[in-house]
């Protein structure tokens, strides 16, 4: 187990920088998820931690030791790849045993470690099989087995669930989380899927264009996004963002209606007001807040809740109704958000404005 510290880490390909000097400190035993759209530098960062990419400048320390110049094999990390990368020409047992390639354990000890890992992952019956005879989920488990036999300082996961179908992905998500709970090994997990990030992480690192936008617990990111990008990225469906103009102590929305606000430190009167669909419920409560009326254009029935898309002016707003309440398309509907559930952003800088 180990801490991982990253200082002013830069990665350049020729003249193009893809990671622009990021800083991050990962605690011992922590499960950190790097999340962001493709090309945001999350995988590159992970690969630099693994030693598979050279560092252009900055420093990476694993357990306090600078590893910038170390070969991957000397960093005592294990990695699970998106394509599993288990070797097709050897059996499951041999694949897992490759994790102990440099270990000085005796043959029987190695065998015992492999069997123990296989047992943990439910692979005991499959040890003699070739990877081609395994399902996608089993293959990924073999890859995890190979990573865990070694008892590494840290696990690195590079989008390990992307190639699995939706159901299996959910199941593996839980298994990895459980495994982390049991082993307590520091883990860095890269994904572009915000649901994976939210459900698995102790802390989430949101990245975009080679920079870290925000670091925080899943709930912090959900409740206090620092900018429009994070606000939209975290949470599903995406947060509604409505343009508004500040006038004295109220904000007038372009879709009609206004909200009372006090002293927002905006650079200009043009702001965006955000509301999560889950907070946007039908009906007008007497409480202060924001109401938007419009025509129902799409209804998505999920069972536990019903997502309602209403069109107001030229803006579509998504709200959420209880599962059994299904509005009809074309119906006029008013959605309401309580004032304390609103988010405010500067329209020019896209940064969050602290609401008072």
């Amino acid at each position: 187990m180990a801490t991982i510290e990253i200082d002013r880490l830069v990665k350049k390909y020729g003249q193009t920088a893809v990671v622009h000097g990021i800083d991050l400190a990962i605690q011992d035993g922590e499960f950190v998820v790097l999340v962001g759209p493709s090309g945001c530098g999350k995988s590159t960062t992970l690969r630099m931690i693994a030693g598979l990419e050279e560092i252009s400048s900055g420093q990476i320390r694993i357990d306090g030791r600078v590893v910038n110049e170390l070969q991957p094999r000397d960093r005592n990390i294990a990695m699970v790849f998106q394509n599993y990368a288990i070797y097709p020409h050897v059996s499951v047992a041999d694949n897992i045993a490759f994790g102990l390639y440099r270990s000085k354990l005796s043959k029987s000890e190695k065998r015992a470690r492999v069997e123990q890992a296989a047992e943990t992952l439910g692979l005991s019956q499959l040890l003699d099989r070739r990877p081609s005879a395994l399902s996608g989920g089993q293959r990924q488990r073999v890859a995890i087995g190979r990573a865990m036999v070694r008892d590494p300082a840290a696990f690195l996961f590079d989008e390990p669930l992307s190639n699995l179908d939706a159901q299996l992905r959910t199941q593996m998500r839980i298994e990895i989380k459980r495994l982390h709970h049991r082993l307590g090994t520091t883990s860095v997990f890269v994904t572009h899927d915000q649901v994976e990030a939210m459900t698995m992480a102790d802390r989430i690192v949101v990245m975009r264009d080679g920079r870290i936008l925000q670091v925080g617990s899943p709930l912090e990111l959900y409740e206090k996004p620092v900018d429009v990008f994070t606000a939209r990225f975290i949470g599903s469906p995406t947060m509604n963002l409505l343009p508004a103009s500040l006038k004295e102590n109220r904000a007038d929305l372009s879709v009609g209606g206004s909200v009372k606000v006090t002293s927002l430190p905006a650079s200009s009167p043009e702001i965006l007001i955000g509301a999560r669909p889950q907070d946007f419920t039908p009906g007008t409560s007497g409480r202060p807040g924001l109401s938007v009326s419009g025509t129902v254009v799409v209804v998505e029935t999920l069972g536990s809740e019903t997502l309602v898309h209403i069109e107001s002016g030229n803006q579509t707003v998504i709200g959420s109704a209880p599962g059994r309440h299904i509005p009809k398309i074309g119906e006029q509907l008013t959605l309401h958000v309580p004032a304390e559930r609103l988010y405010y952003f500067d329209r020019a800088t896209e940064k969050a404005l602290a609401a008072q």
Partner: protein, 272 residues
């Protein structure tokens, strides 16, 4: 009776004619090997008085066995060398980024365009200056690595996902072990194709071994057999007997590795 399309009949006919053209010389070779010297010009396919005398004579002639062994030694060593070095260089060119990589690759490829006939003289001069004339090494050195094999292996290694190599790097394998334990097993079809082509090419090689060897103990089988045609008169029945025996390894390889040969030809195109 199922209806047979005319296209099918034409195809079968053409294949049959092609088959006859291919097989007749082989049958003729076998047939002649079973005739005695007086019957050689009697062109019947089935010998009037079949005899194994030629085989007994050839196999009890120490020279023939020697040539057979020489050919085996040369073909096996050159094949092993090609499988090892061609794939090592091919792998390096396919999976490592280094300055001058492209130039090296083009230089290797461009040697494919130089015909053997043009190379024989420089090879000979080189062999003579290094004192390699009339030796096993002299026969083998030009073929120890080939541009074709390097190119073939490079193409195959390019098809291996980098994830495998990176996973191995993290598992702690050094670069040589990654090549040997991970990359090589993944290109077995290409390796077998390369091995088969190289073995057959060297087993049947005639021109260069003829030039570089002078003493009969170092002749390879094709060179040795040709000596039956110059020493006294042309002893067809002996040549054909030797050739029949020489075909055996080829035949055995083909029977056992047919699958790989077909795959190799499909993947690599025919070697010229």
């Amino acid at each position: 009776m199922p209806r047979v399309r005319p296209g099918r009949i034409i195809a079968w006919t053409l294949l049959f004619i092609g088959g006859v053209i291919m097989v007749t010389p082989l049958l003729f070779m076998l047939s002649t090997s079973l005739k005695d010297a007086s019957q050689v010009y009697d062109l019947r396919i089935i010998p009037a008085a079949p005899t194994f005398d030629n085989y007994i004579e050839i196999l009890s002639d120490g020279r023939f066995t020697r040539w057979f062994v020489n050919s085996m030694i040369v073909a096996i060593i050159v094949t092993l060398s090609n499988v090892f070095f061609d794939s090592l260089v091919g792998y390096t060119l396919a999976k490592f980024r280094f300055r001058g990589r492209y130039i090296v690759f083009v230089a290797i490829l461009s040697t494919l365009m130089i015909p053997t006939e043009m190379l024989v003289l420089p090879w000979y001069l080189m062999a003579s200056q290094f004192g390699w004339l009339d030796s096993y090494w002299g026969i083998m050195f030009p073929g120890m690595m080939t541009a074709f094999g390097t190119f073939l292996m490079k193409q195959f290694f390019e098809g291996i996902p980098n994830d495998f190599l990176e996973a191995a790097r993290i598992d702690g394998l050094n670069e040589f072990a990654i090549w040997w334990k991970i990359a090589m097993p993944l290109v077995t079809p290409a390796l077998s194709a390369l091995a088969i082509f190289t073995f057959l090419g060297n087993w049947t090689a005639f021109f260069w071994p003829l030039i570089v060897t002078t003493s009969a103990e170092l002749y390879t089988l094709p060179v040795g057999l040709s000596s039956f045609a110059v020493e006294q008169s042309i002893q067809w029945e002996k040549i054909m007997t030797g050739a029949s025996i020489a075909t055996l390894p080829t035949l055995i390889i083909f029977l056992f590795l047919q699958r790989y040969i077909v795959r190799g030809v499909m993947l690599a195109g025919l070697k010229g």
